[in-house]
């Protein structure tokens, strides 16, 4: 082919159509044959390609990021694997400088994932703690109730014990009085005012002291404004030996009254609180001679 013909061929525009992929298979084969034979054709094609490539670069449009993700999914290529693998071709220096960035991203991702796990663990721990606290609170309530009921029982037993001690004191005294020759026991019987009442008065023959014993006493209860008064009848005249309350107010089973040198009888009347100078005879409760 002459130089003129070659120039005409180049200028026909067929090479541009070749680069644009706008030729029939037969025409394409022809162009490739020409290119392999004439360096001018080859160079012209290369120049057209460069221009088209540049033109495409200038008019680049960024596709959305998920196209890449979908593409790699579609081809079944694992992206993580790709990042870890080294390039088989000689890598350009920029690969090495960019690699730490990728690792850093992975580290951050791992950090975030770890923090997520930690958050889940914290929530689980919180739930368990609340549950444990609830159970403990219930147990504590039960314990409080138990303590209260035990306390109540303790008070009840303490009451029983003090009552028993009170009775025991009285009873042992009664036993001693009976054995003793020093003490005289005077039985006081119920009178018209209260026929079923009775009590005992103990009179020491030597020091003349007088004792009464709540355990050895059966008198009706007095109201708040009245109490009992013990009298000794000395030659027909009543002498007060002191007042005493009902057995419900007594702290000790035994109560020491005033001493009396001599007496023919003892009697008890109901008097206003604090006692009277003279006995109220219609409220004579019990009486007994020595």
């Amino acid at each position: 082919m002459s130089v003129e013909n070659l120039k005409a061929y180049i200028e026909s525009g067929v090479l541009e159509l070749y680069v644009l992929g706008d030729l029939s298979p037969e025409e394409t084969v022809q162009v490739e044959e020409m290119a392999s034979r004439y360096p001018e054709v080859r160079d012209e094609i290369a120049a057209i390609e460069q221009a088209m490539e540049q033109y495409a670069m200038q008019n680049a449009v960024e596709p959305s990021a998920d196209v890449e993700t979908k593409l790699f999914e579609l081809l079944g290529l694992n992206e993580e694997k790709i990042i870890e693998e080294n390039f088989p071709v000689t890598p350009v220096p920029s690969i090495k400088t960019e690699e730490p960035k990728i690792i850093q991203f992975d580290n951050n991702y791992a950090k975030v994932r770890n923090l997520r796990y930690a958050l889940v663990a914290c929530v689980a721990l919180l739930v368990m703690s609340v549950a444990a606290l609830f159970v403990t609170y219930n147990k504590l309530n039960d314990a409080h109730n138990e303590i209260a009921s035990l306390n109540f029982d303790k008070q009840k037993f303490a009451g029983v014990v003090s009552k028993l001690e009170f009775d025991n004191q009285g009873l042992s005294n009664m036993a001693e009085m009976n054995d003793s020759k020093e003490w005289a026991t005077i039985r006081l019987e119920g009178q018209k005012f209260s026929p079923s009442s009775k009590m005992k008065v103990y009179w020491n023959k030597q020091n003349k002291s007088v004792l009464i014993n709540y355990v050895a006493m059966d008198l009706p209860k007095t109201d708040a404004e009245h109490e009992y008064q013990l009298w000794a009848l000395v030659n027909g005249k009543p002498v007060s030996l002191g007042v005493f309350g009902g057995d419900d107010k007594a702290k000790e089973a035994l109560l020491k009254m005033q001493t009396i040198e001599q007496a023919q009888a003892f009697a008890v009347t109901v008097e206003p609180t604090g006692g009277s100078i003279n006995p109220t005879m219609d409220k004579l409760t019990v009486m007994g001679g020595v």
Binding site: I45, L71, F72, L74, S94, I95
Partner: protein, 183 residues
């Protein structure tokens, strides 16, 4: 992705890795060429979703038919660009595309138009773009049809009511104009 964006390999390196089916090279190839190929596709197919489908199909085809590429017959980019252009034109003429146009509602169209305007330019060469836009109108019209609209030169001749030879000449003149600007 931006980290990988700056990765560049020479064409022989790319071709070698591509033909040995190294998965890493697909990532490099994608970061190097996805936006310029998408630029070509999205000028032909203005519907974003379909254009992105075609971009994906383009890379699948590049990956699967890498062994068919013959570097004695032209540059790798020319080969890839023609795959993109052919798939775009096929899509444009498919039933799929015609249906999707009917289904577009007004709301989608608004964002769709916006997205079409999101063209990324390399700031270093903005001046070049300016020169390309200053192509003579009759050259620009032909280039638009064959490059952006996916027309063959025969179709362009019919569309512009010009003789086939004139269309071919104008394509050549337009590309020479581009070459002059880029060199």
């Amino acid at each position: 992705m931006s980290a990988l964006k700056k990765l560049t390999l020479t064409e022989p390196e790319l071709v070698l890795a591509l033909q040995s089916k190294d998965p890493a090279i697909l990532k490099t190839l994608y970061s190097m060429y996805s936006s310029s190929l998408y630029g070509v596709i999205s000028r032909i197919i203005t519907h974003t979703e379909l254009a992105e489908d075609v971009l994906q199909e383009t890379f699948v085809k590049i990956w699967q038919s890498a062994s068919h590429y013959d570097n004695t017959k032209g540059r790798l980019f020319t080969w890839m660009m023609n795959i993109a252009r052919n798939l775009s034109i096929d899509k444009l003429r498919s039933k799929d595309f015609k249906n999707s146009l009917k289904n577009q509602d007004i709301e989608n169209n608004v964002s769709f138009v916006d997205e079409q305007n999101k063209v990324t330019f390399n700031p270093d060469v903005l001046g070049v773009k300016q020169l390309v836009e200053n192509l003579k109108p009759d050259l620009q019209a032909v280039l638009d049809l064959v490059y952006y609209k996916g027309f063959t030169h025969v179709e362009a001749a019919e569309k512009l009511e010009l003789p086939l030879g004139t269309v071919k000449t104008r394509i050549r003149l337009a590309i020479i104009e581009l070459r002059r600007n880029f060199n």
